[in-house]
């Protein structure tokens, strides 16, 4: 079985900022240059504050993700993990603070669509796929291409694109179900389909919210391998509760608590931190 | 298989209509078909339902006397559901599918305007029983309701007279329909010709279905402070209740500011507590309270009919002006058919000119020789506590209609006889 086909599927990006390989990213716009990641960080969150009617969901949160890094975020419920992802993807606007994608893209000023097109992909906590469409069509919609209305009206898949979809189908092991409506897939299959859609999107930064929830052990193992292979050329941010899974994939872990970074480091370091122990076990 | 049901329905519908036609065509020798085109559902049902019943009663009455030309009249009732395009469709159906000899129907001007092209195209015959704004004279329509000069102008003349309270300021209040607009335009021109200054006339319109008259009543009060004021109301039926209630509760009574209404009759008063309204006025060509033998017979016949047919609210059945106009219209048509010896539209039209009928209003009404309108008496009635009107003033003799009002510029060039609008 091919375990690392993804690198072939996803365009690599050039950390030096050349970016000539990038093509149209939707609504007819073409990014002239690739993402500027001169300083080696792909995502910088600085002093982010978010509050809902007085409830502070995030307090002075600062977080940096390096290029090609695979970062795991852990933290108890209500620590602000999903809110942080909402901030990064433009769904929630921070009351203060800055969020930069690369060195030049200010995420707090971009719309969700722009952020997605700039190269941040997100997988939701609850798998969301287009249930009325077939697996194949789900991947077709996700693929990186001109996503403007006009383009969609005229769009026709070329051989290369079909091959890519086939490849991803293979990767996520849904080749047999390509024409099944996505709504009829099992929970785990939906998770994989969503990951597959992310792959089709070929983003530079992937945000994954509890990707292995509801997966069998074998599936989890496979996912871990998949992520590790992705991490070479992409940046990943994985929110996960499953410590075993975190252990297999993460080189760097961040612990969130009450909207703030509590600890950061390797899993061993973090697990040794007394504050983390208190937060996890103390209550 | 997708389109089939649509066509099936259409076919089924037309088949049903046809099969419905058959028994009639078999009896065609014995009956004359008469179309009744009044809304039985939707917003206009409130006014039109009783006209349908009145038409049926009148047809019964004529049938009981042996019918017309020795044949029984057979009513064909359809429901255009207060939907104006549906009026045209149903009109066409009555003329081409049911082949009626005449149609009695419509209430609103827009419904009449909707069916008019159909009746002109197919040379049908329509009797329209409601007061309206004029500005129309079709050879295929006979207008048994009042033209503006048979209702609005005499009413304002009365208000200006000593008995009417010598009003010198006029608040023209109406629903924003074509009828109130046209009527008020005529009234304004009339008032100015009588020396009323522009500043003493105020024109206000409300949206259809308006139910909050607080601001308007406050404005009337303000306006009325300037001198003896009368309100001329062309408010459409449904908005009258909130208007009168507000008027009464804000303490404006008829001795201070009388309201004369052109669309409020006995039927509308059924839905209003009339005690606070005593003294307010309405102008019509007929009131139920008119005392004469013809009317007594008419009213008691209607009450008996309502009871026999078990109509809703039969114990409180009343007659009103459009009902009388329907009654008169059907009888006149029947007389004209007898005179013409045929139900052919062209012959009946000729026979209708100059036709007379002893109407419940107490006058012998004449169909004008030329202009398709009745000569009608004008009466001003005062609201009484029992929901009836007492006539306080009436013209000495029936007035000839002026469908093209001389107070609207350009009308002097219009011919005073019916021509197709093109």
């Amino acid at each position: 079985m091919k375990t690392v086909p993804c690198s072939a599927v996803i365009d690599g990006f050039d950390p030096t900022g050349g970016g000539l390989t990038r093509d149209a990213i939707g609504l007819g716009r073409v990014a002239e240059k690739g993402l500027d990641v001169r300083h080696g960080t792909i995502l910088s969150l600085e002093d982010i504050n978010v509050s809902f009617d007085g409830f502070k969901a995030l307090t002075d949160l600062s977080l940096y993700i390096g290029v090609g890094e695979l970062r795991c975020i852990i933290g108890p419920n209500g620590a602000g993990k999903t809110t942080m992802m909402d901030v990064i993807t433009g769904k929630t606007r921070p009351t203060s603070g800055s969020a930069w994608f690369g060195e030049t893209l200010d995420l707090t000023r971009m719309s969700e669509v722009d952020i997605a097109q700039a190269g941040i992909g997100r997988k939701f906590q609850k798998p969301t796929v287009f249930e009325a469409l077939s697996v194949f069509e789900n991947l077709e919609l996700a693929q990186k291409t001109d996503k403007s209305v006009w383009a969609s009206l005229r769009a026709k898949l070329n051989g290369e694109q079909k091959d890519r979809i086939d490849e991803v189908l293979e990767t996520i092991r849904l080749g047999q179900s390509r024409h099944r409506p996505a709504g009829l897939l099992s929970h785990g299959q939906k998770q994989f389909l969503e990951i597959g859609m992310l792959l089709m999107q070929s983003p530079q930064l992937l945000l994954l919210d509890e990707p292995v929830a509801g997966m069998t052990d074998a599936e989890t193992e496979f996912t871990a391998e998949l992520f590790k292979s992705l991490a070479r050329k992409h940046s990943l941010m994985v929110v996960e509760h499953d410590m075993g899974f975190v252990e297999t994939i993460a080189d760097h872990v961040t612990v969130l608590h009450q909207g703030q970074v509590l600890a950061e480091g390797s899993l061993q370091q973090v697990q040794a931190d007394e504050r983390v122990i208190e937060v996890y076990l103390g209550r | 298989m997708k389109r089939r049901p649509l066509i099936k329905t259409t076919l089924a519908a037309s088949a049903l209509m046809l099969s419905g036609l058959f028994p009639f065509t078999l009896q065609a020798a014995e009956t004359i078909k008469v179309g009744i085109l009044h809304s039985l559902s939707g917003t206009m049902a409130i006014s039109e339902t009783s006209l349908k019943d009145m038409a049926l009663m009148t047809i019964d009455e004529i049938n009981a006397k042996g019918g017309v030309l020795g044949k029984q009249l057979e009513p064909v009732v359809v429901d255009p559901a207060s939907n104006w395009p549906l009026f045209a469709e149903k009109g066409r159906q009555l003329l081409t599918q049911d082949k009626v000899a005449v149609t009695f129907g419509c209430w609103t001007s827009v419904s009449r305007k909707s069916v008019l092209p159909v009746y002109e195209e197919l040379n049908g015959l329509l009797f329209y029983p409601v007061q309206y704004e004029g500005e129309e004279l079709s050879p295929n329509v006979f207008y048994t309701g009042a033209a503006p000069n048979q209702q609005a102008i005499p009413a304002v003349e009365y208000l200006m007279s000593e008995d009417g309270g010598s009003a010198e300021r006029f608040f023209l209040l109406g629903t924003d329909y074509v009828y109130p607009r046209t009527t008020n335009k005529i009234l304004r021109a009339f008032l100015i010709s009588k020396g009323v200054p522009e500043s003493s006339i105020e024109e206000v319109y409300t949206p259809f279905g308006h139910s909050d008259y607080q601001t308007i009543v406050a404005n009337i009060k303000k306006f009325a402070a300037g001198g003896k004021t009368a309100v001329v109301s062309t408010i459409n039926g449904d908005s009258n209740v909130p208007f009168y209630k507000e008027l009464a509760n804000q303490g404006l009574d008829a001795t201070d500011v009388p309201v004369v209404a052109f669309s409020v009759g006995e039927e509308e008063l059924r839905g209003i507590d009339t005690k606070p309204l005593v003294g307010h006025l309405a102008a019509w060509n007929y009131f139920q309270s008119v005392e004469n033998p013809v009317n007594e017979a008419f009213v008691s016949k209607w009450k008996a009919y309502a009871k026999a047919q078990n109509l809703p609210g039969a114990d409180k059945a009343v007659t009103n002006d459009p009902m009388e106009a329907t009654y008169v219209g059907i009888h006149m048509w029947a007389q004209a058919v007898e005179k013409a010896g045929s139900t052919e539209v062209d012959k009946v039209r000729d026979a209708l000119a100059g036709q007379t009928f002893k109407a419940p209003s107490g006058y012998t009404l004449t169909m004008d020789e030329k202009n398709h309108h009745l000569h009608k008496p004008v009466m001003i009635g005062e609201v009484q506590e029992d929901g009836q009107f007492s006539v306080v003033w009436e013209t000495e003799s029936p007035v000839r209609a002026q469908p093209w009002s001389p107070y609207i510029p350009g009308n002097d060039k219009k011919p005073d006889y019916a021509v197709k609008s093109n």
């Binding site: 769904k91 969700e112 669509v113 997100r122 939701f124 969301t128 287009f130 249930e131 009325a132 469409l133 077939s134 069509e137 077709e140 919609l141 996700a142 990186k144 996503k147 403007s148 209305v149 009206l153 409506p181 859609m197 999107q201 | 997708k2 389109r3 049901p5 649509l6 329905t9 259409t10 519908a13 049903l16 209509m17 039985l40 009732v77 359809v78 429901d79 255009p80 559901a81 939907n83 104006w84 395009p85 469709e89 066409r92 081409t96 609103t108 827009v110 305007k113 909707s114 092209p117 159909v118 195209e121 329909y177 074509v178 319109y205 949206p207 259809f208 350009g410 009308n411 609008s421 093109n422």
Partner: protein, 358 residues
């Protein structure tokens, strides 16, 4: 809704049967106006009554189809489609009024205090410009309304209520006599269109054929859209708008496109409706009319192309029949029908046919 966005029933019953049925229906519809040209005594003559009735229903069917494009496919229930229909009708009506008025003012203006044509009437004596208005007025209005509504992400019930408010405001505006569209009477008494008498059988037949052509065209357009990637994006939009945004699609553009297209189709249907029924007035904009259109779609079957057509045909056919057969009680039948369909036929009549097919 787990319905794939394709011709569900068609797939089940096999494309062949569908094509045959559609072809047959089209043949009947094309034959009807031709039969109308036969002399009235002829056994196969189709009467003007039948022709205008079916023509009217066909116009409604186009509205239903247009509404289904936005509701069934994009998940936006519009309760204001009557407005676009009426606007198209008014644009056509303006031309027809100018035709019958000749060089003078339209009849209603001359007795309602208008001395000259208001600016928005300029050029309406030209058929071409009137046709431009038929497309532009509903199109631009829908575009502007949609642009703002979709920008602020108004959806679901909010969107429905806003569209309802829009058509209600439109109705009030057109009711005003000062607006210059004939007030509550609207436009009637049309005489000629392009110089041909509007009541001539040949004109009727032509208008009918034009309606059939528009319907067939809309159906084809809908079919192509449903099969394109655009159609799939719409379905995705209906079911998971957020996911779609994170895939990098801007839903606004998609919604705006289908919404405006739907409005323009309605406008065209309205323009064909007016000369056939002979009247246009503000009651076409009444919110209840638009709700009824939604009922046609639901009754026929949402998210299918044929369903709405069936629904429009069934409801209007029944209305025409019931109003004669049971004038006092037809509302009971109609009301009961709505309840029964929503309760027992959630996928509409088309769902029933599909189940039969299986």
């Amino acid at each position: 809704m787990n319905q794939p966005l394709t011709l569900t029933a068609a797939q089940k019953a096999g494309p062949k049967a569908t094509v045959t049925a559609l072809g047959l229906a089209l043949a009947v519809l094309v034959a009807m106006p031709l039969l109308h040209l036969l002399p009235a005594e002829h056994a196969l003559h189709v009467s003007a009554y039948t022709l205008t009735l079916v023509g009217k229903i066909l116009c409604y069917a186009i509205v239903a189809l247009a509404l289904d494009l936005v509701w069934g496919y994009a998940g936006l229930l519009s309760l204001g489609h009557g407005l676009f229909f009426a606007l198209g009708g008014y644009a056509m009506g303006m031309y027809l009024m100018r035709q019958s008025a000749g060089d003078g003012l339209p009849a209603f203006m001359s007795f309602l205090a208008w001395n000259e044509l208001p600016w928005y009437w300029y050029g309406t004596s030209s058929f071409l410009w009137a046709m431009c208005l038929v497309v532009l007025v509903p199109g631009v209005l829908a575009f502007v309304f949609g642009f703002f509504a979709f920008r602020s992400r108004i959806k679901g019930v909010y969107f429905s209520i806003m569209t309802q408010a829009l058509t209600f405001a439109g109705m009030l505006l057109f009711f005003r006599n000062e607006t210059g569209f004939g007030g509550n009477n609207g436009f009637t008494d049309f005489k000629t269109i392009l110089g041909f008498s509007i009541s001539a059988p040949a004109t009727r037949a032509t208008l009918f054929l034009a309606t059939v052509a528009l319907l067939a065209g809309s159906l084809y357009l809908g079919f192509r859209l449903a099969r394109s990637k655009f159609g799939r994006v719409l379905t995705a939009l209906r079911d998971a708008e957020n996911r779609l945004m994170f895939c990098g699609y801007d839903p606004r553009g998609y919604k705006l496109f289908i919404w405006t297209l739907s409005a323009v189709l309605c406008g065209l249907a309205g323009a064909l409706y007016v000369p056939q029924v002979g009247i246009i007035n503000p009651s076409e904009m009444a919110p209840t009319q638009s709700i009824e259109a939604a009922v046609w779609v639901a009754l026929g079957g949402r998210s299918t192309l044929i369903g709405p057509l069936l629904g429009a045909g069934l409801v209007n056919g029944m209305k025409s029949w019931f109003t004669v057969a049971l004038p006092e009680y037809w509302l009971f039948a109609l009301g009961a029908l709505f309840i029964v369909v929503t309760l027992y036929l959630p996928k509409g009549v088309i769902g029933l046919i599909k189940r039969r097919g299986e």
